[in-house]
């Protein structure tokens, strides 16, 4: 199987070519079959690769396949090569699996759209880019995938390009991503200058020797890499594009902005764990930013009124959790949460898409309510997703979130303060998730009459994905059951060789190990989840007048949070407006003045010179003769004088 590893990214690319070139002219059925078919086949191939990987012994689970030499330029040699190890195996399964479900869902959701072929072409291209990113065996190829997913994100966010808000959101996403990419590029250049290669394997083998522990070089490189990750994975300070990205179609939000693209940053940090472990300062930065983002975004999500915005901020918050996990050295836990989050967040987004579809386009939760009985399957799956993300015991999110919180508390890189932040964020998560659930599905119906008439459950293509994801959200966590609950934490042990291949940090992840402490924290997590759900029940179902009273009592805070702490406005004043002014200035002075001026000057000069010189042609032969004789004499004189 390993020598057809390249099929995994190649299949979606083929789908992109077909749908891109002929998508407009063929019937929608063909487009759907091609698009979903290639991703489905890619998933099958990923399964095969996974099975073959398992067949290898633990130490051997590292397979590379070099496809061809890409850039042979003197000392700089980059190949297009793929690398399969436990980490990338998990990623390709998540990307192709969840991707396949979302492709199928899109058939139903987008069936009346005009740009049907274009949509699926972009979706396939995205899948190709994401798979390239996770399968790459060197930084440059990973960067190609990195940029590719950024591009597809732009294309898909601005899918309805004649809507100004969508076009602006797409542009904002791309530009903010670019800032992060700048950091990534700088890091790549530093790495190349230090190691002479961009291949992961070579770099990570050399790293412990070439980089001093905690040294300036290691810290700089990893901080720059992390800057790229904050851009792609929407952490502080570059998270501002993700909420706006909800302008795109809902399946896009599910795939790109929940399950896959935003996880690229986490994957990258996990992949470069060797470099990060050599720079404890950077790891601390990662953890702190992760925790801060988690709580910050969760707080904004408490008061949002658009169903997708709540989920967007939830995504930013959960990504913070993943970075928190990586930042305390628990890379496996971070990836575990990445996987479970992919399941339930995609489920929640697709569910919200189902709700929006049922309500003929309504997205404001103040205008929903009481629709649970009309859309039973949507409600049931949404409930599962909400329980999972809140960390309700037994479901997927419980295991992964608890793992991260435990490691944060006990690891030598972690701290109790960070645990507190994480716990608070968990409380907020449970609260806002159930606030959303109650406001959308329960209580009295506040739906506009027109829409109420057309309320209907979604078509089977959409429901299929919801059901599968619900099942995964319930059972997906069982691969990572921790030891204290009697499990073997298969997930962590599966990923272990990927994280201990190059060097083993002195048991950073196994600090305090008292069992009772672990049990206490576990129960605390459960209590927090239940508390959050209870509070939401009280405030939105039992005594539904409380939220309004609170808002009236504390208008300042409420408005601050509702307006996302005015971060966008601050950025605008600090960066966007000066940037725009600078561009205008440069445009007027430099582009128009100097560049255009130079070109025009050349033209003008030629014309003027010509007009001046033409006067030599007087028409008098004798003058011509005079000139000839004069010049002949000058030449003769010159030679005489030599």
């Amino acid at each position: 199987m390993f020598n057809i590893l390249w099929l995994i990214p190649a299949l979606p690319f083929f789908g992109f070519l077909v749908n891109g070139l002929v998508g407009k002219k063929v019937p929608k059925g063909i487009v759907s079959w091609v698009a979903c078919g290639v991703v489905g086949l890619a998933f099958a191939a990923a399964l095969l690769a996974f099975k073959d990987l398992l067949a290898l012994s633990v130490e051997e689970r590292f397979v590379t396949q070099t496809l061809f030499t890409w850039i042979p330029s003197g000392d700089f040699l980059v190949n297009v090569g793929l690398q399969l190890d436990p980490l990338s195996a998990v990623m390709i399964l998540v990307v192709t699996g969840v991707g396949f479900l979302i492709h199928v869902y899109s058939i139903g959701y987008m069936h009346s759209e005009e740009g049907y072929g274009r949509y699926f072409a972009y979706l396939n291209l995205f899948t190709f880019a994401m798979l390239t990113l996770v399968l790459a065996d060197n930084f440059l190829l990973m960067f190609v995938g990195w940029e590719g997913v950024g591009l597809c994100s732009y294309l898909l966010i601005g899918f309805w390009y004649d809507k100004p808000s969508a076009a602006n959101a797409g542009r904002k996403a791309f530009v903010v991503n670019r800032i992060g990419d700048f950091g990534f590029l700088l890091a790549m250049m530093l790495i190349f200058s230090l190691f002479g290669t961009l291949r992961f394997d070579s770099i990570f083998h050399q790293a412990p020797l070439a980089l001093t522990f905690g040294g300036g070089m290691a810290t700089t490189i990893t901080l720059l890499l992390f800057l790229g990750a904050t851009g792609k994975s929407a952490q502080i300070p570059l998270y501002i594009w993700l909420p706006d990205a909800m302008e795109g179609p809902t399946p896009v939000s599910a795939l790109i902005h929940a399950a896959t693209m935003v996880t690229a940053g986490v994957y990258m940090v996990a992949r470069c764990h060797v470099l990060f472990l050599l720079a404890p300062v950077s790891l601390a930065v990662v953890a702190v930013i992760g925790a801060l983002t988690a709580i910050f975004a969760a707080s904004i999500g408490l008061v949002q009124n658009d169903i997708k915005r709540v989920l967007a901020y939830s995504t930013v918050s959960q990504l913070g959790y993943m970075f928190l996990g990586c930042g305390v050295g628990a890379f496996a836990a971070g990836i575990f949460h990445l996987m479970t989050h992919a399941f339930f967040k995609a489920l929640l987004f697709l569910g919200s898409g189902s709700v929006i579809h049922a309500l003929s386009g309504e997205q404001d939760i103040r205008k929903m309510g009481g629709i649970a009985k009309k859309v039973p399957l949507t409600y049931a799956t949404f409930l599962v997703g909400a329980l999972a993300i809140s960390g309700f015991p037994g479901l997927a999110g419980f295991f992964s979130k608890d793992e991260i919180l435990w490691k944060t508390f006990c690891s030598s890189q972690g701290s109790n303060l960070l645990w507190l932040f994480g716990a608070l964020a968990a409380l907020f998560t449970a609260f806002y998730m159930f606030r959303l659930l109650f406001l959308v599905f329960h209580g009295k119906s506040r739906v506009e009459h027109e829409r109420e008439l057309h309320l209907h459950e979604s078509p089977p293509t959409m429901l299929f994905a919801l059901v599968v994801l619900a099942i995964l959200s319930i059972f997906g966590g069982y691969v990572g059951v921790p030891k204290i609950l009697g499990g073997h934490n298969l997930f962590e042990s599966f990923l272990e060789p990927a994280f201990t291949r190059y060097f083993v940090l002195e048991s950073a992840t196994e600090g305090l190990h008292s069992l009772s402490l672990e049990w206490t924290l576990l129960l605390a997590s459960v209590a927090i989840a239940l508390l959050g759900i209870f509070l939401a029940w009280v405030l939105y179902l039992k005594r539904a007048q409380i939220p309004a009273t609170l808002t009236a009592r504390l208008p300042g805070i409420y408005n601050l949070i509702l307006n996302k702490y005015y971060v966008d406005e601050v950025y605008g004043a600090l960066f966007v407006i000066p940037g725009r002014k600078l561009s205008e200035f440069l445009y007027a002075r430099f582009d128009l003045g100097i560049v255009d001026g130079l070109v025009n000057f050349v033209g003008e000069f030629v014309v003027r010179a010509g007009e001046g010189l033409k006067r030599i042609q007087t028409g008098y032969v004798r003058q011509y003769g005079f000139a000839i004789l004069l010049s002949a004499l000058c030449v003769l004189g010159y030679f005489l004088l030599k």
Binding site: Y620, R622, Q623, F626, L629, L633, L636, L640
Partner: protein, 175 residues
């Protein structure tokens, strides 16, 4: 010796005089005639330089054919002198100046060039030219048909072209 020089001096003076007459006299017929005189004198010079064949050719072709053609055309066009005011009279002084400069340069070239240094016969001392016996028609003819055959043939083509050109150019427009 000196007799030769004196004779030569007289011939040179007349040649110069007729040359000046060509450029200064108003009436074009007189200019042409003085040029004929110049050509005759040059023929004599050639004789002095032992180029007998060329002297003969000079008289026959130049003085006899070309100048006749000139006179024909002058008569045909029935030209008078130049009556109207010269528009470019500002060119006169610079022209003379240029002529002077030309003269100076050529003399300087003669005096100081490397060729002169190698050939003492050319120096300004009154060295005597080697007496050599250069042949006449026979020798020139031999050269013409062996070494210089190609230019010879091309010249004949050139003359043909000139004939054709002259005929075409002077045809009257068909009525």
């Amino acid at each position: 010796m000196t007799f030769n020089l004196v004779l030569w001096g007289i011939l040179a003076a007349v040649a110069l005089g007729s040359g000046l007459a060509v450029i200064l006299i108003r009436n074009p017929v007189y200019c042409a005639l003085s040029l004929v005189v110049n050509f005759f004198l040059l023929a004599v010079m050639y004789l002095l330089l032992k180029a007998e064949f060329l002297a003969a050719i000079q008289v026959i072709v130049y003085a006899g054919a070309i100048m006749v053609l000139f006179i024909f055309v002058i008569m045909l066009l029935n030209l008078g002198g130049e009556e109207t005011r010269d528009r470019l009279w500002a060119l006169r002084a610079p022209a003379f100046l240029l002529g002077l400069v030309l003269l100076v340069e050529v003399v300087a070239a003669l005096r100081y060039s490397a060729f002169v240094a190698e050939n003492p016969a050319l120096s300004f001392s009154l060295a005597i030219a080697q007496p050599t016996t250069i042949g006449g028609v026979r020798e020139i003819g031999r050269l013409l048909f062996t070494e210089y055959l190609l230019p010879f043939e091309i010249t004949s083509v050139l003359l043909l072209i000139a004939i054709v050109g002259a005929v075409v150019l002077s045809k009257k427009e068909a009525p």
